[in-house]
């Protein structure tokens, strides 16, 4: 047994994301439709109800097509593939050459003589192989009835020769495309009748009430049909059998309308079930009746052998114990009502939306039927739809008769909902007080009954809006405000509020300031690298990140980054092939053992020859960033690399007071060299949360010294094993009441020797220093320095 293919399910021809609405069908439900501008109304519909994507006028490109009768068929044309027809067009006979092969004498068809227009194409006389053709024969496709384009249209015998085809077939229509997404929460708008009801509400037009049709019960021997439901996913299931069908009786007007709405219907049962589906929204299903007596509906069991393609997510309809359809999704191939089937079972049901959604997804078969069932349509409409289908069937095919009792299993009855809406709340949402009379008239136009109380409205919601759409007072407020018209609201400014939440913003402000400084002052480019690592990069540098959090449903690049440096390096390093020097930064979140951490990464790339300068530049940037916030002391201390991509030799930890906030280092050359042989990359990675914790209040105003400051510069020669840090450590232990500060002002390195020049600033707080005091300080300092370093004099 196989699942049905196309044809077993109702498919929109083009796509399932939108639905096409026929204005001719809408008009049939409204008794005062002449006041409605059917081209213009859709703008209002868009802002009050659902988004209209397109409005198209059909039929206006076809004119002068008339009913004709074939009076002669001559095969003796110079080309055997062509026929020469003589057709009666009422006032005269004309000759037409056609490639269609289905002409016969006496056939009633349609043709377009010269000066007429078919689908925008003006028809002229044409000489074909020496014979004059005075017009064209018209196919169903030419008229927009179906896709059939090789055959002449075969019209009913009652059509009067010489009349305009539009007198019989409603070619002129306005077709409106509505986005399904915007109907997600409006189950009532999934049928034409619901759309007409909405138009009545927004325009004041009068909607014809639904009347359940009277069914002609003609079958003498009504057979017994039973249905049992074994699943809570079935809210309601109704079915009836019909026999005596002639599937060829396809009404052209109805077929045209269905075609305009995107459906191809080739059999009577297709046509009628599609038409009634589009009327009320609930899918009407027709299956072949090969003696169905008992129906049961239950979830499919995995151990069932009867249909291997089904699974336990599928709700299945069984007839006499055999599966005939996946409920709400598709009819199985063997049960499809084909063109020669004269007995059918008509079913209309209401299923649980989530069950159908799961079921259709599990079969990779989301289609027009399943999408409708996902919308929680109104179960109260089940019988109305079923009767309507029967009624139309019997109108089109008088020989059709009911051949079973009706079954109707209604397990979860949809109740009307009553909602109390407080007047105070309504006013608060609307921003003004709406008159009771206006509230009542809006709600009444939507078929909702209202009892006006002192402080509230008690609103009864019709079942077709109560399935999942309107559940509480806010939903009623939506109804009132959208029908009132969002365009009619006057914008009102928010009342001023004291800045009670300003403090919450400081983090954002600092982050933005940092970004701005890095870009504008240091010319760095901000990047956003992906939150996941790039597998290729990890592999290329031999890094293993399989300990990181991983995205379950992603096949590659699935590990969540646990260090920002690696992520920035991976996503920017390829620039080194084109750029000899560049700088980038990112402030981003990483996840370390499932805990989020915000980091700042600064990355500078330059030629390896310049690595010293680049390193110093990064260090200066880091220093500058901290100094932007605080006066706290910043120190850099040699450390071991914490990141695997950093060369252990030149790593500094960044400290603010005692707190280490990050690290500066050089990327291992073997990584850099993969991308650019002569480049070197220096990076700083800072724990941004610790950076944010810096005490910004520590800005201390310091008076400039009152008495002159004397500066003394001394140059120290460093030996091979000495560095600045050692000098700094030595100097930091020197204390003198006169010494205010010292700093490195120059460094010199000729490869043999390094020389550092330090500037010392001294002053006295109460008076100008005397020259002997200066001399005394200098001697003392030089002797201290000389104990450890070589000072040039």
């Amino acid at each position: 047994m196989q699942l049905g293919g196309i044809g077993t399910v109702r498919y929109r021809i083009e796509r399932n994301e939108s639905m096409l609405i026929s204005c001719n069908l809408l008009k049939s439900y409204l008794s005062s439709d002449t006041l409605i501008d059917w081209l213009g109304i859709w703008e209002l519909f868009t802002i009050s109800s659902a988004e209209v994507e397109r409005v198209e006028e059909k039929g206006k490109n076809t004119s002068g097509v008339i009913v004709a009768k074939v009076t002669n068929v001559a095969k003796n044309t110079p080309d055997v593939r062509l026929n020469l027809l003589t057709v009666d067009i009422g006032n005269r006979e004309i000759q037409i050459i056609t490639s269609a092969t289905n002409a016969y004498i006496g056939m009633i068809t349609a043709c377009c003589p010269e000066n007429g227009m078919v689908n925008g194409k003006r028809i002229t006389k044409l000489e074909i192989l020496g014979i004059m053709s005075e017009g064209v024969c018209v196919s169903e496709k030419d008229l927009g009835i179906s896709q059939e384009h090789t055959l002449m249209i075969d019209l009913p015998k009652e059509y009067m020769v010489g009349r305009d085809i539009k007198e019989y077939i409603n070619l002129d229509d306005i077709i409106v495309e509505i986005d399904n997404k915007s109907l997600t929460n409006r189950p009532d708008l999934w049928g034409h009748y619901g759309i007409a009801r909405e138009i009545a509400a927004i325009t004041g037009a009068k909607l014809n009430k639904l009347v359940d049709p009277i069914i002609k019960d003609t079958e003498d021997s009504v057979k017994t049909l039973t249905a049992t439901v074994h699943s809570d996913a079935v809210n309601r299931y109704a079915a009836i059998k019909v026999s005596g069908l002639n599937q060829k009786l396809v009404d052209l007007n109805m077929k045209l309308m269905m075609h305009y709405c995107g459906y191809e219907c080739s059999t009577l049962s297709d046509l009628v079930s599609t038409y009634t589906t589009l009327e009320y929204g609930l899918p009407v299903v027709v299956v072949n009746d090969d003696g169905i007596e008992n129906i049961s509906i239950k979830m499919h069991q995995d151990n069932e052998q009867n249909c291997i393609e089904l699974n336990s997510d599928n709700l299945v309809v069984y007839a006499n114990g055999n599966p005939i359809e996946v409920a709400g999704v598709c009819v199985l191939e063997s049960s499809v009502a084909t063109a020669d089937c004269s007995s059918i079972l008509i079913e209309v049901a209401n299923y649980d939306a989530t069950t159908i959604r799961k079921s259709s997804i599990s079969l990779h078969n989301r289609n027009d039927m399943s999408i409708r069932h996902e919308k929680s349509l109104d179960p109260e409409m089940v019988l109305t739809s079923l009767y309507r289908c029967l009624q139309i069937l019997q109108t089109l095919c008088p020989s059709a008769c009911v051949s079973s009792n009706l079954v109707d299993v209604y397990k979860n009855k949809q109740k009307q909902r009553v909602i109390t809406l407080s007047k105070k709340k309504l006013s608060s949402y609307l921003g003004f007080n709406m008159d009771d009379s206006m509230v009542v008239s809006i709600l009444n136009s939507l078929d909702m009954d209202v009892i006006v109380e002192q402080d509230a409205y008690v609103v009864t919601i019709p079942t077709y809006r109560a399935t999942k759409d309107i559940e509480q007072d806010a939903d009623v407020i939506e109804e009132i405000s959208r029908i009132y018209g969002y365009d009619n609201f006057e914008p009102q400014p928010l009342e001023l509020q004291l800045d009670t939440m300003r403090h919450a913003t400081s983090e954002y402000s600092i982050e933005y300031k940092v970004k701005e400084v890095l870009a504008s002052k240091y010319n760095l480019h901000e990047v956003h690298s992906y939150i996941w690592y790039d597998d290729d990069f990890l592999k290329s540098i031999g890094a293993d990140k399989s300990d990181c959090m991983a995205i379950v449903n992603k096949t590659s690049n699935r590990y969540i980054r646990d260090e920002l440096g690696m992520s920035v390096l991976a996503s920017t390093i390829y620039n080194a092939r084109k750029y000899s020097r560049y700088g980038v930064f990112e402030i981003g979140t990483i996840y370390n053992s499932n805990i989020p951490k915000k980091q700042l990464c600064i990355l500078l790339c330059d030629s390896a020859k310049m690595v010293g300068e680049t390193y110093q530049h990064v260090k200066n940037i880091v220093y500058g960033l901290i100094r932007n916030l605080t006066n706290e002391s910043v120190t850099f201390l040699k450390a071991d690399a914490i990141n695997s991509y950093m060369d252990n030799a030149n790593v500094l930890n960044i400290y603010i007071n005692e707190l280490c906030i990050g690290q500066i280092g050089i990327v291992i050359p073997s990584i850099t060299n993969r991308y650019a042989k002569t480049a070197a990359v220096v990076m700083a990675v800072i724990d941004f949360e610790k950076y944010l914790e810096i005490d910004v209040t520590s800005y201390d105003y310091q008076k400039p010294p009152k008495y002159p400051v004397v500066t003394l510069d001394y140059t120290i020669s460093l030996k091979k094993n000495e560095n600045y840090q050692m000098l700094e450590n030595w100097l930091s232990n020197y204390s003198s009441p006169l010494l205010k500060s010292y700093n490195l002002i120059d460094s010199y390195d000729n490869g043999q020797k390094r020389k550092l020049t330090i500037r010392f600033k001294i002053s006295h707080s109460d008076r100008t220093l005397r020259s002997e005091e200066i001399r005394g300080f200098a001697e003392e300092l030089l002797s201290y320095l000389g104990r450890q370093f070589e000072v040039e004099t």
Binding site: I47, K425, Q497, A504, E516, H525, N553, I560, P596
Partner: protein
């Protein structure tokens, strides 16, 4: 006498103009202003004149003297700058400039506007739990938005947030009502990437809760933000839109800025551009987060920063926003 002096001035100024270097300036100075100069002589002979003549002549001498001094000074300055430096001032500028991500720029613009209206700028984690991303936003477990295929799942009910809306929940938890927050951030959806689809994109969430917050308040705030961003008065319209965490929910359109509503390719002929979903906060959302919907109401909106940046910079490929390619980045500035 007067004419003689004026002739003298003319001669002096001419010589100053013709001077080639500073030594000439020294000579000219001594010739016209020195002790033996004609002006000095006239000055010292003033005592021989009547009081009336003395005053007139003295004035003329002083004026002429001052003019010559000024001219000497100016010429001297000119000579110094002409001779001191030799530089090529036509060299090209250093075009090496940094850049901010267009997302940061646009996001900050929106944040600044909102801050003026009393909104605090907050943030939330990129890895969320199901509760904050879905449940607390009134998105039930059966809702299609929770389908496996649209969300990046990390296991144990964690996921990459699919929108910035969980920031609403976190703000309600942290601050309660009343509340005004905006949260820019990065979101993730399981999408195949092409010019108009990205799996990583940027949004800004806005939320305002207070007593008597109304639909007209929402319209006002949205209109103000968008007018400031696009630097012109924009027309907005609300249409019904469905999002589980708002009711009523809206799609907000702005009148097309290119054709001003007449219809063009940008607005696909409709005259309107769909810009952001918004709405009044769903009572269920308030209730879940312990805010009484009978006391408070509020609105929320989501602005697609990626979309906004695309419009502002006329970028038609969404992938640009996650690029780290300097050739692309260099085109963006700092503002």
């Amino acid at each position: 006498m007067d004419e003689e002096l004026l002739e003298l001035k003319k001669q002096a100024l001419q010589e100053i103009a013709n001077a080639q270097d500073s030594s000439e300036i020294v000579q000219i100075k001594s010739k016209y202003l020195g002790k033996r100069s004609q002006i000095s002589r006239v000055m010292s002979s003033l005592k021989n004149y009547s009081i009336e003549e003395r005053r007139t002549l003295g004035q003329i001498c002083n004026t002429i003297k001052n003019e010559i001094v000024e001219a000497l000074k100016a010429k001297n300055n000119q000579l110094i700058s002409e001779t001191s430096y030799s530089i090529d001032i036509t060299m090209p500028v250093d075009e090496d400039r940094g850049s901010l991500s267009p997302i940061t720029i646009v996001g900050n613009e929106v944040c600044e506007i909102l801050e003026k209206m009393g909104f605090a700028i907050v943030s939330g984690p990129e890895i969320e739990d199901e509760y904050h991303n879905f449940d607390a936003l009134n998105i039930p477990s059966t809702h299609p938005a929770r389908d496996m295929q649209d969300t990046y799942w990390l296991g144990s009910h964690k996921l990459l947030r699919t929108h910035t809306s969980p920031c609403q929940v976190r703000a309600m938890e942290k601050y309660g009502a009343p509340l005004r927050i905006a949260a820019p951030g990065r979101c993730f959806r399981n999408e195949d990437i092409d010019a108009s689809h990205e799996n990583t994109f940027f949004q800004l969430e806005g939320m305002c809760i207070d007593k008597n917050i109304s639909i007209p308040n929402l319209i006002y705030v949205m209109k103000s933000i968008l007018s400031e961003i696009f630097d012109q008065e924009v027309q907005v319209r609300l249409r019904p839109g469905y999002f589980p965490f708002v009711e009523p929910g809206f799609e907000l359109d702005i009148k097309c800025l290119i054709c001003e509503g007449a219809g063009c390719s940008t607005c696909k002929g409709s005259g309107w551009i769909e810009l952001c979903p918004c709405g009044m906060i769903h009572p269920n959302v308030l209730r879940i987060n312990n805010i009484d919907p009978n006391e408070y109401s509020g609105f929320a909106f989501g602005i697609g920063l990626t979309r906004l940046a695309m419009m502002k910079y006329h970028i038609n490929d969404i992938r640009v926003f996650n690029t780290c390619n300097l050739e692309e980045l260099e085109q963006f500035g700092i503002v």
